[in-house]
């Protein structure tokens, strides 16, 4: 229902990807097992946006046919990936190939070294885009997962309402965004800013905002909490947040919004600004082109200390228990082939990770893709300027900064009290990983 009209594209895609698979199969840089055995490969395909998921799954099916592989595909949504992989690892029944941004498995030594593929891709396809190397390369120079796309939040703006209010999109700073939101919103029907302040990970945007005010959580090594030294910056950010809260630009209910609510609020025309990946734009393209035409896509507004625009990613990795490492590597290699990626980028939310992909037509065809390219070229790894490590990730799933904000507005705590609690929580989390 969400994205129904992809059938012709998909059929067309199948044809091409089949051809691609044959072509790539001919080179076989990582060796192929004997055809007679029909090796088995289990592939957990990341489920998020149907058109993109279908494209990857279909490619895998075609690839399996060409390579005479007995392939089992499971579609695994992100939020269900962790319980499934946890049990699989403990029961020693892991898939061979996984797709996720689950870097934590790398840290726990569950993934196969794929540095060879990383290097070969870099050499063959003109190098990696933006901060991909920073995300993939570990301190010792090894690589355990191959990124296939950037993803990230952008500012989506109802340009029609903004212009109607006599303003020019996009707002340059967060303060401007608040001013715009106040002027362009039409209460009680349309709210200025559809941003969650809840215990769900989309509330991460507040941490990013706080960092654009100059604060950071931990030191350069990502070991010791230093947020306590940044009290003036945090207070300046909290001044801003308090103003946002009091201005009535946040719709009622944001303190328990889940990760779908900003989408649905925007879809139903009830928000001027939201921060979201372009998955929503792709949905609008098929279901509500009129609204898409009124929508502008921009990088985040800046804070007093500059732009903090984090980028997430999708990547493939091989579980170290695999019995067919060469075959799995072959799959990883083949699935990055530019012809295949060209088709895939046309129907998905991913930004390009290899320079050979930058020339694809799709980036020019759709206006909202420009934002995606900007994001891929310039986006910093999540958590920036903090180090993206396990400790950061744990405080992120704990939504520590959003909880601090909720202490102020839900529980009416004083700033000092809420700040002390946040420092305490961050300290507890980071100290577990410091040793």
């Amino acid at each position: 229902m969400a994205r129904p009209a992809i059938r012709p594209t998909r059929r067309q895609f199948l044809k091409t990807s089949a051809a691609v698979a044959v072509g790539a199969g001919a080179t076989r840089p990582f060796g192929t097992p004997a055809l007679a055995q029909r090796p088995k490969l289990v592939y957990w395909c990341y489920q998020f946006l149907k058109s993109s998921d279908d494209a990857r799954a279909n490619f895998a099916q075609e690839w399996a046919k060409k390579n005479n592989v007995d392939l089992q595909i499971s579609m695994v949504p992100l939020k269900e990936f962790l319980p499934k992989i946890t049990a699989a690892i403990e029961a020693k029944a892991t898939p061979d190939i996984i797709e996720s941004d689950a870097v934590e498995l790398r840290a726990r030594g569950q993934l196969l070294d794929v540095t060879d593929i990383y290097k070969k891709l870099e050499k063959t396809y003109g190098g990696w885009v933006g901060n991909s190397p920073k995300i993939m390369l570990e301190p010792d120079g090894r690589v355990h997962h191959i990124m296939y796309g950037f993803q990230g939040f952008m500012l989506m703006s109802r340009d029609d309402l903004v212009k109607e209010a006599g303003l020019t999109p996009p707002p340059a700073t967060w303060v401007d965004m608040l001013a715009y939101a106040k002027k362009a919103q039409k209460l009680p029907r349309i709210f200025g800013m559809g941003i969650p302040v809840s215990n769900q990970t989309d509330s991460q945007v507040w941490e990013d905002m706080m960092k654009s005010y100059g604060a950071r959580l931990a030191d350069e090594k990502g070991k010791r909490i230093v947020l306590g030294d940044y009290k003036p910056q945090v207070w300046e950010f909290l001044d801003f947040f308090t103003e946002v809260w009091k201005a009535g630009v946040l719709p009622p209910g944001v303190t328990t919004w889940d990760n779908t609510m900003n989408n649905s609020t925007y879809q139903s025309g009830k928000a001027v600004f939201i921060l979201n990946p372009i998955t929503l734009s792709l949905w609008l393209e098929e279901n509500n082109p009129e609204l898409l035409a009124k929508t502008g896509h921009y990088t985040y507004p800046k804070g007093p200390k500059g732009l903090i625009q984090p980028v997430t990613f999708g990547s493939r990795a091989i579980m170290k228990y695999t019995k067919v490492p060469d075959l799995a590597k072959q799959f990883l290699w083949d699935s990055m082939e530019p012809g295949k990626m060209d088709r895939e980028h046309g129907v998905s939310q991913w930004g390009p990770v290899l320079k050979a992909y930058l020339g694809f037509d799709v980036w020019k065809k759709k206006p909202f893709m420009k934002g995606l390219i900007d994001l891929s070229l310039r986006g910093e790894p999540q958590g920036y300027p903090d180090v993206f490590n396990d400790a950061w990730r744990e405080q992120h799933t704990n939504t520590t900064i959003s909880r601090m904000l909720q202490r102020l507005v839900v529980d009416n705590w004083s700033r000092d009290k809420a700040f002390v609690e946040a420092l305490d929580v961050l300290g507890k989390i980071y100290s577990k990983y410091a040793v």
Partner: protein, 275 residues
């Protein structure tokens, strides 16, 4: 007469309130399943303005939901059949026999419930894989017993205890064996309780989520709750399909309830004749 009238009025007034409370969310589910996407994502409307069956068609044809319904049905039926037999024997044994330790077995099986499933699914999956049951419906039938059997054993202990043992003792005096008394006296008299337990077991198995999520990994073995959860795609609820799927998934079990309820009444009638 006066009292009976006021009782009737109260009864129907309460019934109306209960029906209303139950109906509102159900109405919303059905209405959603029948709404077009424009109704769902753009404007609010109480009723579908352009009712459509497209969501139903889609979940059946493109999502192949009937396969998942069948999977759930097979799992829930098997689990329930085994559960009722095993727990009826266990409950009978604990309630009507006297030997050391029976009460402790009764208590210990409840330990399954003392920890959240989030703590138990990993060791259970280890067992499943060790038995070679990974990604099979059998893995669910087996592990579901771990929560249906304790549940139904205790429910049946409650029902069995409500029935005076003298009835069975009379029968045994008349030459009936202890097991014979179980089948001839206790089972018929507690038929409503057994049916109720079967319904519980079926519903628990039908709706189980976390174990099914972890143990099964492709469409052929997916049960209905897992399939429905896949209709939350990324950061988007596919409301129409989700509700159409939920309504479809509820039909078989609703029919079952309806039939079982009739059976409960018949069980009562049979008992009354005996009395």
């Amino acid at each position: 007469m006066h009292e009976s009238l006021s009782i009737r009025v109260t009864t129907y007034a309460l019934l109306a309130i209960f029906v209303f409370l139950v109906a509102v969310p159900l109405f919303w589910m059905v209405a959603t399943a029948l709404k077009s996407n424009k109704d769902l994502y753009e404007d609010f409307s109480y009723l579908p303005t352009r009712p459509t069956l497209q969501h139903f068609v889609r979940v059946i044809t493109r999502e192949d939901l009937l396969t998942n319904i069948r999977n759930s049905f097979v799992v829930a039926t098997t689990t329930t059949a085994v559960t009722v037999v095993v727990s009826a024997f266990a409950a009978f044994s604990i309630v009507r026999y006297r030997y050391w330790g029976r009460e402790w077995v009764g208590r210990l099986i409840l330990f399954k419930y003392l920890l959240p499933t989030a703590m138990l699914f990993i060791p259970l999956y280890t067992i499943v894989v060790a038995m070679g049951l990974g990604n099979t419906l059998k893995s669910l039938m087996l592990t579901y017993l771990s929560f249906t059997v304790p549940f139904c054993t205790w429910m049946l202990m409650g029902y069995f205890r409500s029935i005076p043992p003298e009835l069975e003792e009379h029968a045994m005096v008349d030459g009936c064996s202890k097991i014979g008394a179980l089948f001839r006296i206790l089972f018929p008299l507690s038929a409503p309780g057994i049916v109720a337990s079967a319904i519980f077991s079926f519903t628990l198995a039908w709706n189980e989520f976390l174990l099914a999520l972890v143990f099964t990994s492709d469409h052929t073995t997916m049960t209905i709750p897992i399939k429905l959860s896949m209709m939350v795609v990324g950061d988007q609820y596919i409301w129409g399909q989700l509700m159409a799927g939920a309504v479809l998934a509820s039909v078989p079990i609703a029919i079952l309830y309806f039939l079982a309820q009739r059976f409960v009444v018949q069980g009562l009638a049979a008992g009354a004749v005996k009395g």
